[in-house]
């Protein structure tokens, strides 16, 4: 019956012509720009790209070189502690160790303190999803239905707060920095807050509503690996406690790679440290809680400054320089081929 429809209108008198419209679109004659890879455009593009990349690359390398960074692996230096932590039954025992280092020159500028973990696969698929964002928003949710399992509830049904494997495995070393003067050491003032993203602290994470935190978390239990409940994370600062704890928030932002660092503290620029860290001997005093030996991991503590282009990683600058060089060289090669072939071409045209 299909053809019927198409033939029916024939009855009409002088129906409109079936001639196609003569529009530029239908006749495929739209005005168009046809880029042509002529020798001039090719060479200019290569040289332009090359020059630009070289310039940017040099800038980047220079700025990356200005970054001062001290990285100290303390997983072996605290071997006693690490052995202690290998046995999970000793988890409640405290263990401290100190790591000394020397700054040969002043580190001026904001100094950031990171803890670094190696071989800790925070990006494992099942690890990444093991959290409940709704719970962290302070909502009263049934975490059993979330992705937190098996770190959602205890056998007796008590829900964990916060739930999930990420929260459970939170980095719980405490690191303090001391500036060793000749006779005594003064503790370098460190900022505990303001290290996380503003939106995380203010939008993404909320404590449950209640008149105080302990009542807000009543009826929940801490995750199994934790030593203290979530509302005891920072007893001094109410705004840095519970889910709003900066260390917790930062830990919950899972890192992209197995080797990573997380911002831990910033040096508070007051008094002696107003311009940054002066040269001299320093000591990290670490309360060693986080076990890494069982996954052959390592722990670092890192002091670093930051520039506009990021950290001390010079890769981007190198990449720019290399590609800039490559582009320029290519330009030269093309120019050379062109010059060489031009003679031949005329030869052939005859």
């Amino acid at each position: 019956m299909k053809n019927k429809t198409s033939f029916l209108p024939q009855e009409g008198e002088a129906h409109p012509s079936r001639c196609p419209d003569n529009t530029a679109f239908k006749q495929q004659k739209l005005p168009a720009w046809k880029p042509q890879l002529t020798i001039a455009s090719v060479l200019s593009s290569f040289f332009l790209i090359g020059a630009f990349c070289l310039a940017v690359g040099v800038c980047l390398i220079l700025s990356a070189n200005s970054v001062r960074e001290i990285q100290i692996d303390y997983s072996d230096k605290c071997s006693d502690c690490s052995k202690l932590r290998e046995n999970s039954s000793n988890w409640s025992k405290e263990c401290h160790c100190s790591v000394n280092f020397t700054l040969k020159e002043d580190v001026l500028d904001d100094v950031f303190m990171y803890y670094g973990l190696q071989n800790f696969y925070q990006n494992h698929r099942r690890y990444v999803i093991s959290r409940s964002d709704a719970q962290l928003l302070g909502r009263n949710v049934n975490i059993q239905k979330s992705y937190c399992a098996p770190f959602a509830t205890y056998r007796n049904g008590t829900p964990m707060a916060p739930c999930g494997a990420i929260a459970n495995s939170m980095f719980n070393d405490t690191i303090d920095l001391f500036y060793n003067l000749k006779s005594y050491a003064i503790q370098v003032p460190l900022l505990e807050t303001g290290n996380s993203w503003w939106t995380d602290k203010n939008v993404k994470f909320r404590n449950p509503n209640s008149y105080n935190l302990s009542s807000a978390f009543a009826g929940t239990a801490r995750p199994p690996y934790w030593q203290k409940p979530v509302y005891m994370l920072d007893k001094e600062d109410e705004r840095n406690n519970g889910y709003l704890n900066d260390d917790f928030i930062i830990w919950m932002r899972v890192s992209a790679f197995a080797t990573f660092r997380n911002l831990y503290r910033r040096v508070k620029r007051v008094g002696r440290f107003a311009d940054g860290l002066p040269a001299g001997n320093y000591t990290f005093r670490i309360s060693y809680n986080f076990p890494v030996t069982k996954f052959k991991g390592r722990k670092h503590v890192i002091l670093s400054t930051v520039v506009w282009s990021g950290g001390s990683n010079p890769f981007l600058g190198i990449a720019y320089v290399v590609s800039g060089t490559a582009a320029t060289l290519t330009g030269f090669v093309i120019a050379a081929i062109h010059l060489k072939l031009r003679k031949k071409k005329t030869y052939f045209q005859k």
Binding site: M1, K4, A14, Q36, C53, V56, H124, L137, V203, A256
Partner: protein
């Protein structure tokens, strides 16, 4: 004669008896058992009882078994929609794949995405298809409803009257009454027509698109014709075949209460969907209803073909599946090892819900499945959807190309197959029909020979020439006026006038010629009456008569007038007979031009024309005495005619009423003439001049339109008209012809034996109105007719010799016609005596009413009649080449396409057409292979092959020499084609039967063009299939007629020409064009574009998906092969769905790497598509390598940048996502050759949309998408300078190699395509110049493999020498053997005209080029001979030297 008739009678009776007994045993018991066990009966025959008061019980019982007339073309009903639709959709592999992945994702061990997300694509696809199906189905439903509730008038037995009923309520057995212009509701057996002859006219445009009217006839022998049909008295039972879809076959019989049977066939069946025309009212009984009607059974959906690119794509998809498997395997093994490395479970290895850990092996296995889910888009299901969309766009653009629009027919190109557009760009072989495809199928009467005397019709030839020039002039003029677009009215006065010919008037000349861009929208010209009637353009209608012949015709008339036929009667009578035969022996319908659909079925009455019946008799008695040649010459003496002219013209159509009664009688007309003629008796002394003056006067104003089924017929009728033998009216029973003298002569048609391709002839049996003789006029193919001629008159030696001479001469003329590319027809007659005729008529009647093997019986009877004919003459009809055919063929050939012509025509005609359309070149060596013998055939093939190979060996070193020079013009792999092959149907058969296909193909590969003559439709399709299968080549078939259908269907791409021969070819085709020349643009431009676009798009799609998925894959190495992703799922899905989908689609529809003009000017560009240069395995693999490189860059540059930093998972993924988006789009940007505003907009909007979407999505949603949480990621990133630095450098690094190669190619590469691209940039004049330069350089390099034009001549000499040399020595011997065993050519004859008709096989070896004198010496001899032999033929050129080797 009598003997043969008797034996035939015996045979016929025996057969008849057989069939009778057979049918009785089958049908009669069945018939009775209807009442008890109707089921048994209905599975072989359909039995229809009339739905009237008498038989309603039977009817009721029977009708329950037949479906009603309600149609339901919808696929689904309201309730079955969901399950049925889902069921059908899951038949698609892609959907199953999606479903599998979605289900897989529901297992927690493998869950990668949220459960909902994996279902989403599936749901979207399913929903989209569902919506499409629903709307489609709803439209069908609406249409069905409209059809079902249309009204028609059906007989109601209670009310005993026709009442209005809906179509859906019509049942089998109902009587339906239809008025003029009504549409037929079901298949109806015609029982009554208001037309007194029982004729009903039918327009079948709805069915097959043919606009000419078809005749249908009331069941023959059914007697209720004179009285008004009364359903109540209809007691017959109708037995006919089961419903089938054959529109041209239907048979059955009507059993009367007295067990007498009346047979009927398709001629009595009114088909559903057709429209009644020209008939006031018809009544019929419904036979098939609803879905059982032939129209509905024929209604099958569009064709589905898979293109070559898609086939290649499927291979690549399998490669992708392999890649997927490898990647998943790497993931699973990696994960297994990674997990196995732990002695203790680390805190980040999360146990399952019950706190258990998986073993490494099991974890690895689960990871395999997880990875499949993760990498699922590696198998680009979306590619199929995209391809379909792109093809729709391409088809839209092709359809709208104004250059492929035919103004005369008001038809744009029709794309019937939607999914093989890109195949148009890869065609390697074209198989073309000749008639109607290469030629116009506008048959123009060109020459004729009567009684062995040839009439060359010089004036006519001149007229045709002028016509052509006029055409050209118009076009040139239009070209000049290119930018003014005037709707020009070009009416050129004819340059000469002659005789009765009116000024040459071009009916279509009023059309404006618009070219290219300046064409405006012109209104359709369908409203003009002219174009509605097939085969009636001016060029066909106006035939300038040959003055010599005209004189003779007049003389003949004069002689009859003088009643002195003793001297020249023979010639004159056969002249009149000849033209009478031309006018009568056809099935042409006559209509007047004023009202095109008004049939002239009644001869115009003649005013009392001054002749008495007695006188006529007297005249004819005398005539008979004078000549035994059974001829009729002009019947009435011219003296009586003067009076008859005055009134005739005006009253022709209207004053027919009083003739009605007479027409029923057999010899009414002559009696009528006689009665009318009583008034004036003695006007008999008007002078001859006067008579002719009045003749010319009278014939001027009357203008008849002839609607013929085939153009040849129309041409012949017009030719007869030119000699004043005008066909005035035609009914199935009578035909009226106006003679030169103005007399009207009405013949009773006793039988019409229609044309069929087996008999290759048609005949009419008429009773002469005056002599009362029964005359058979036959016309048909010369080869057939010549065999059927009466051997010789036994009594008269003189006459015998004369007949023989005439026959010989005619044969000679026929050969000459054929050589000049004319279509030949022989006209013959035969006089039957009454007894013989009665005998024969009896057979015929029986044959007609037979049911079983009726066709064979009819054929047999026809063959019986058409024997012992007397040759009257022969005609040569010219079938003009269509405009631009040689040009198109040359261009296509330059494009590297091999063109074969498969035709049913004669060899000579075909060869000549081939020369005239440049299919064969003058320089070519043409091999002709005609043989009946397998061994001969094989040895001939071997011989030719050897010959061809010899030529190569000469060529090869030269080509090598050229291989060194780094010209980029790829020397085609096929050798330079300098050979043509002509082969006929018989030989083809032998090749197919004898397993010689491979040799044949090997030979054809070396040939520039191949002509297959005298081939049947089956052979045509076999040839196409052979090439397609054995050579794995892309084939295209183009044809216009029903005989091309099989060939069209056999090829990869079938193209139908919506020409003059109906719509069957179009219906079977993938694309329908209206002119052959459109093929040029369709292939060279649209094909090239479509292929390039689609191929590039497909490759790009693979690139896009694989490079994106690779990013995820590389990440697996850093996340312990855990199936983790760094990109948010929604952004991932949207990446494919929105951010990167539109630019490639647009690219696939709009990109134009070379302009249409350049593509047309440099056909060689087509070769890139032919060789699949853009999309083949190597390009795919190269692209994949590039893809891997790019994805590595896109992943590792950000990785190294963010290494050892505090970057989090999604913040790392975000720049990667952005980078890959930019890289993918920039990659596309490099590929795009033509940037229009659309491209720019989509590119920019894709990027903008990505950022806007990401920003909004990352800001709006705090926890709406657990467990991933991309909150504020994008915002954070765009405030970070590193992000921008990364986004700048990574695409640069990723695309630098590609760009480098592009730059190298663009600046130094000298491929033709790049050259063409450069040409496009030049201003027009300079461009043309450059193209000329390029082409000329090409001709020297690739046209003939000799660089300098100086050596070109040498080569030609060389080749031609080669061609002939081996044949020369035997030629010198000039001994003619017919020894096939001797294996080889023992003799040859160098004389084209002393041609022998070969018995076993002969072998032409033609060289159409004159070269060195040594070689051409015999050729010149031949020419001399030609001149001698060719009396009055004037050879256009003597360029051919032919050597024929007879084996």
């Amino acid at each position: 004669m009598a003997l043969s008739v008797d034996s035939a009678l015996y045979r016929w009776r025996r057969r008849g008896a057989e069939s009778h007994s057979q049918s009785e045993s089958e049908s009669i018991p069945l018939l009775f058992s209807v009442r008890d066990k109707p089921k048994l009966t209905l599975n072989k025959w359909r039995i229809v009882f009339p739905d009237n008061g008498r038989q309603w019980k039977d009817w009721k019982q029977a009708s329950t078994f037949y479906s009603g007339n309600r149609i339901r073309t919808t696929k689904y009903t309201l309730f079955t929609f969901l399950p049925q639709n889902l069921f059908e959709q899951f038949h698609r592999l892609g959907n199953l794949y999606f479903l599998f992945l979605a289900v897989l994702n529901f297992f927690p061990q493998m869950e990668v995405f949220h459960r909902e997300i994996t279902i989403l694509p599936l749901v979207v696809v399913l929903l989209a298809s569902m919506i499409k199906d629903v709307t489609e189905d709803y439209r069908k439903y609406q249409f069905d409803k409209m059809v079902n509730f249309s009204k028609t008038r059906v007989y109601d037995k209670e009310e005993r009257a026709y009442v209005e009923k809906c179509w859906k309520d019509v049942r089998v057995g109902d009587f339906v009454q239809l008025q003029c212009n009504e549409t037929i509701p079901a298949d109806i057996l015609l029982l009554y027509s208001s037309d007194q002859n029982g004729i009903c006219h039918l327009e079948t445009a709805n069915l097959d698109g043919e606009t000419n009217l078809k005749q249908r006839q009331v069941v023959l022998g059914f007697s209720s014709q004179n009285t008004l049909f009364e359903p109540e008295f209809f007691q017959n039972t109708i037995i006919c075949e089961k419903p089938n879809n054959d529109l041209n076959k239907f048979k059955g019989y009507m059993e009367q209460p007295n067990h007498e049977r009346i047979g009927f066939n398709i001629e009595s069946l009114l088909l559903r969907g057709c429209t009644i025309r020209n008939t006031e009212a018809v009544i019929g009984i419904v036979i098939y209803t609803g879905h059982e009607t032939k129209a509905m059974l024929n209604n099958n959906g569009p064709r589905y073909k898979r293109s070559k690119v898609e086939r290649q794509m499927n291979v690549d998809i399998f490669l992708c599946a392999g890649l997927l498997f490898v990647m998943c395997l790497v993931g699973s093994i990696g994960h297994g090892i990674w997990t196995g490395n732990f002695s203790m479970h680390p805190p980040y290895d999360v146990p399952d819900e019950n706190g258990n850990f998986l073993s490494p092996v099991l974890a690895g296995f689960y990871m395999f499945l997880t990875m499949i889910i993760l990498f699922q888009i590696l198998i680009p299901i979306s590619l199929y959807v995209s391809i379909e969309l792109v093809k729709l766009g391409q088809v839209f653009l092709i359809h709208n190309d104004i250059d492929l629009y035919d103004e005369e027919a008001d038809l744009p190109i029709q794309c019937r197959a939607l999914n093989i557009t890109e195949d148009l760009g890869q065609i390697q072989y074209i198989f073309s029909d000749k008639t109607g495809t290469l030629t116009e199928n506008k048959m123009v009467f060109r020459r004729c020979t009567v009684d062995g005397i040839e009439f060359s019709h010089q004036e006519n030839a001149r007229r045709l020439e002028t016509h052509k020039e006029l055409d050209l002039d118009d076009e040139d003029f239009a070209k000049l006026q290119r930018f003014t677009l005037p709707p020009m009215n070009i009416e050129r006065p004819a340059t000469y006038k002659q005789g009765t010919m009116r000024p040459l008037r071009r009916s279509q000349s009023a059309r404006a010629h618009f070219q290219g861009h300046t064409r405006n929208r012109s209104l359709g010209r369908r409203d003009s009456n002219q174009s509605q009637v097939a085969f009636s353009s001016t060029i066909e209608k106006d035939v300038a008569p040959d003055s010599r012949l005209l004189r003779r015709v007049r003389e003949a008339a004069l002689q009859t007038e003088n009643l002195s036929p003793f001297t020249h009667t023979k010639t004159s009578s056969s002249l009149t007979d000849f033209f009478l035969a031309l006018a009568i022996c056809n099935t042409v319908l006559v209509s007047t031009t004023t009202e095109p659909r008004q049939r002239v079925t009644v001869p115009p009455p003649i005013k009392p024309s001054g002749i008495t019946l007695e006188k006529i008799h007297q005249i004819f008695q005398r005539l008979k005495l004078a000549s035994l040649s059974q001829s009729f010459s002009s019947s009435q003496s011219s003296s009586e005619l003067g009076a008859s002219f005055s009134a005739k013209n005006t009253e022709e159509r209207f004053a027919a009423l009083d003739c009605y009664d007479n027409d029923d009688d057999c010899c009414a007309s002559s009696r009528g003439d006689g009665l009318q003629g009583k008034g004036s008796t003695d006007m008999g002394s008007a002078s001859l001049d006067e008579v002719f003056k009045s003749v010319t006067n009278s014939s001027l104003p009357t203008d008849f339109c002839y609607e013929a089924e085939s153009p040849d017929e129309a041409a012949l009728v017009y030719a007869a008209q030119a000699y004043s033998f005008t066909l005035v009216s035609r009914t199935p029973e009578q035909v009226t012809v106006r003679l030169p003298q103005g007399t009207l002569l009405t013949f009773d048609i006793l039988y019409t034996l229609g044309f069929d391709s087996v008999r290759k002839r048609m005949s009419v049996v008429v009773r002469h109105p005056l002599t009362k003789e029964i005359v058979v006029y036959t016309k048909g193919a010369d080869s057939i007719i010549m065999d059927l001629l009466e051997d010789s008159a036994k009594d008269d030696i003189c006459a015998e010799r004369r007949m023989k001479r005439i026959k010989e001469k005619t044969q000679k003329h026929l050969d000459y016609y054929a050589r000049n590319g004319l279509r030949t027809l022989c006209i013959a007659k035969k006089v039957l005596n009454e007894d013989d005729f009665q005998k024969w008529a009896n057979f015929r009647r029986e044959a007609e009413s037979a049911i079983d093997n009726r066709d064979e019986l009819l054929m047999e009877t026809a063959q019986h009649l058409e024997t012992k004919l007397t040759l009257l003459g022969a005609t040569g009809i010219e079938d003009r080449l269509q405009d631009g055919v040689p040009d198109t063929i040359a261009a296509l050939r330059e494009a590297g396409i091999q063109i074969w012509v498969l035709t049913g025509d004669k060899q000579e005609t075909a060869i000549n057409i081939a020369y005239s359309c440049k299919l064969l070149d003058q320089r070519d060596c043409v091999f002709t292979i005609n043989t009946d013998n397998e061994e001969t055939c094989e040895s001939l093939l071997n011989l030719t092959l050897e010959e061809v190979r010899k030529t190569y060996q000469v060529e090869k070193p030269q080509r090598k020499f050229f291989g060194i020079i780094p010209t980029s013009f790829s020397v085609p792999e096929a050798p330079v084609p300098e050979f043509g092959l002509v082969i006929d149907g018989r030989t083809l058969n032998i090749i197919f039967q004898g397993g010689l296909e491979e040799k044949f193909l090997l030979l054809t590969k070396h040939c520039r063009s191949v002509l297959c003559c005298r081939s049947t439709p089956l052979q045509k399709s076999m040839v196409v299939k052979l090439v397609r299968r054995q050579l794995k080549a892309m084939t295209l078939s183009i044809g216009d007629g029903a005989n091309d259908v099989s060939m069209i269907q056999a090829a990869d791409v079938g193209i139908g020409i919506s020409g003059q021969e109906g719509m069957q070819a179009v219906m079977a085709s993938d694309f329908a064009i209206s002119r052959f020349k459109h093929l040029k643009k369709l292939l060279l431009v649209h094909g090239h574009w479509c292929y390039t676009r689609l191929a590039k798009m497909v490759i790009y799609f693979f690139y896009k998906n694989v490079s994106y998925i690779n990013l995820l894959f590389w990440y697996q190495f850093f996340c312990g092969f855990s199936g983790s992703t760094m990109i948010d799922y929604w952004q991932m899905i949207f990446f494919n769905l929105f951010f990167t989908s539109v630019p490639p689609l647009l690219f696939g529809v709009l990109d134009k790497h070379i302009s249409a003009e350049t593509l047309l000017d440099l056909p060689e560009l087509y070769k890139s598509g032919q060789n699949s240069e853009i999309y083949r395995l190597s390009t795919f693999i190269i692209t994949m390598l590039d893809t891997f490189y790019q994805s590595l860059v896109c992943f590792f540059v950000p990785y190294l940048t963010y290494k050892d930093s505090d970057i989090d998972l999604l913040s790392f993924g975000n720049p990667i996502n952005t980078i890959s988006l930019l890289t993918i789009l920039l990659h596309e940007a490099i590929e795009i050759k033509t940037w229009t505003l659309f491209h720019l907009i989509t590119m920019i909007s894709s990027v903008v949309f990505y950022f806007v979407f990401s920003l909004i999505y990352n800001a709006a949603c705090v926890t709406c998408n657990p467990p991933t949480n991309p909150y504020w990621i994008m915002e954070k990133q765009i405030s970070d300078p590193t992000f921008y630095l990364l986004c700048l450098i990574t695409p640069v690094i990723a695309l630098l190699p590609r760009f480098f190669i592009f730059a190298l190619r663009g600046t130094f590469g000298a491929t033709l395509i790049l050259k063409a691209q450069q040409l496009d940039k030049l201003p027009k004049g300079q461009r043309d110049l450059e193209i000329q330069k390029l082409r000329s350089s090409k001709q020297t390099t690739s046209g003939a493999p000799v660089a300098s034009s100086a050596s070109k001549h040498d080569l030609e000499q060389n080749i031609s020498h080669l061609c002939l040399s081996s044949f020369l020595p035997p030629a010198a011997a000039s001994v003619s053997h017919r020894d096939t065993e001797s294996q080889g050519f023992s003799a040859s004859e160098v004389n084209p005209l002393r041609k022998q008709i070969p018995e076993e096989g002969y072998y032409f070896f033609n060289n159409y080029h004159l070269v060195s004198s040594k070689v051409t010496a015999p050729g010149e001899d031949g020419n001399k001979l030609t001149k001698d032999n060719a009396h009055n033929f004037n050879y256009g050129s003597h360029r051919r030297s032919v050597s024929a080797v007879t084996l």
